[in-house]
Amino acid sequence: MKLLKTLTPVLAAAALFGGVAWAEFRFPMPEFQSGYTYPEMHTPMPGRTNDLWDTVLLAAALGLAAWLVLKRRSRPAVFGLTLCSLAYFGFWRQGCICPVGSMQNVAEGILGVEVVSIAVLSFFLLPLIFALFFGRVFCAAVCPLGAIQEVVAVRPVMLPRAVDRVLGFVPYIYLALTILAVSTGSGYLICRYDPFVGFFRLGASLNMFLAGGVLLLTGLFIGRPYCRFLCPYGVLLGWMSRFSKWHASITPRECIQCRLCENACPYGAINIPTPDKTPLTAKEGARKLGVLLALTPILIAIGALTGLFSYPMLARIHPTVQLASRIAGEEAGRYQGMTIESEAFRAGVKTQDELYAEAHAIRADFKWKTALCGAFLGLVIAVTLASLSMAGCRDDYETDRRACVSCARCFPYCPVEKDEVAVAEQKT
């Protein structure tokens, strides 16, 4: 009790002046007589990261995946590599460093907000360059997010094409929102809503586990739901793969139109032949092109206008905007009590007017950037419509280069392939 009494004035003084004299020493440092030496501070260096090694490993895995898909044409081997990638890039490296998230760092590097390291930029570029030459081999066997879904896809069913197309538009929205969030300094959406990283680390918030669990359960029946209907990096890979030099083909030689592979792809990436379709006449083609060209600016304008009207809602993802609206609400008496954020703000040096001005500037920034995102989405719709209506005639079963993840699931379905294997076995 005596202790408390002597302490009370000191505590009161500390409480009064504590905030002001924060950085100064209240008590003199002792001069020891007994020869006491300070213990060592325990400050271990980062473990588990060797960026150069990871980059080399990624390149090697991509090369191996390309060889297994295009040359060996072996589904078991591709699946084996998938498991290895899941073990290393997933569970051992615990999901970070990954090319999917790296696009945010690269965007920040381009905007000059944060310095991006060579390893991260390499992680971003390598899968894209490989996709430009060999198709989406990264998705097939290297990406840990793809791998965990590939493993759980035990009873995949094919979705109706229309559903596939409509849901396939979501990744573009996700991509636009991700870039919007990074460019306005609102944080990394891909990392925040990464559904599987919780499994890799064996620890995450309940929401993360719920999202991941739902996606994995869905993934039992609808193959790779994250890759097909969410992944923003997949959009970029799809663009590259669309123009790839070599790409996984269902048949090693000539398609014999046997239709055995028709239901082979659970990811809806096999284009069926259109023998009944007759090529458009020049007049029809010109009319169609005219309609599309007229439609494109309209769609872009609609997208931009939607962005202009929806930006206040999106701006709320920025922490400063959140804080400003909270403080304004507290001042107006709309909220009872304070949050930790508002308390920390009130204890700081920034004034309310400064905060409001900052939030206002961020909202203005959001305004034109959201409009830009909307315009981009309008353009994507226009291009999708164009590719749907102008699609040429196909005689054979072909992979949809943009959507195909080169997983090699369709290879065993092709009788031509089996025939070749049998011939090779007879020879030996």
Binding site: L4, S34, M41, L125, G203, A344
Partner: protein, 193 residues
């Protein structure tokens, strides 16, 4: 012949596009060689307690560290004892640390040394102080106890989950070679990184 030419032209365009776009990206992003890690700026920390709860790891990779050089070695330690402590003992009613991770040893009259057992620490920052109820080391002491991300435990998330939730905006990326923001004793008597 014409298809051959077309294919060669396509190859050329593809290679040129890969080189051009890749090179432009590389130039625009201007990568640096070093990796970065997340760390807490102790001057900005507001001791909200979220380091213990928001980390993707459980227990958190954030631990309390002790800069012995700026510690006052007080008998009556604001980071070790509850403000209402009736005795300077290890009783749960007296100790501030909920995990009893701080051990106190006598050095010489009147100085006591406080050592943190990292395996017990959960990074709650109660010893640092919570800003409103408990006056810890930051508010009643030399502020020699403070929180740092232990880099051997940290899994280096691209977006640190605690940084996102930090009300003091105290988290930032720093070069991996110097992975800590430690307080040291300086001439002017100010605690600095």
């Amino acid at each position: 012949m014409s298809t051959d030419k077309a294919i060669r032209r396509r190859d050329f365009i593809r290679a040129a596009a890969a080189l051009g776009v890749g090179g432009a990206l590389w130039k625009a992003a201007a990568p640096a060689s070093g990796a970065t890690v997340w760390q807490i700026d102790p001057q900005k920390c507001v001791q909200c307690g979220r380091c213990a709860t928001e980390c993707v790891l459980n227990p958190s990779a954030v631990k309390c560290v002790h800069s012995y050089q700026i510690c006052g070695y007080c008998d009556l330690c604001g980071g070790y004892l509850q403000p209402s402590a009736k005795a300077r003992t290890t009783g749960a009613e007296n100790e501030l640390c909920p995990m009893s991770a701080i051990s106190r040893t006598f050095i010489e009259d009147p100085f006591f040394q406080y050592i943190i057992d990292e395996s017990l620490c959960v990074g709650c920052g109660k010893c640092v102080g919570c800003g409103k109820c408990v006056k810890g080391c930051a508010l009643f002491g030399n502020s020699s106890l403070y929180l740092q991300v232990k880099q051997d435990l940290c899994v280096h998330c691209n977006e640190c989950a605690i940084a996102k939730a930090c009300p003091g905006d105290a988290y930032r990326r720093i070069p991996a070679e110097e992975a800590y923001l430690l307080k040291t004793r300086t001439e002017g008597g100010n605690a600095q990184e």
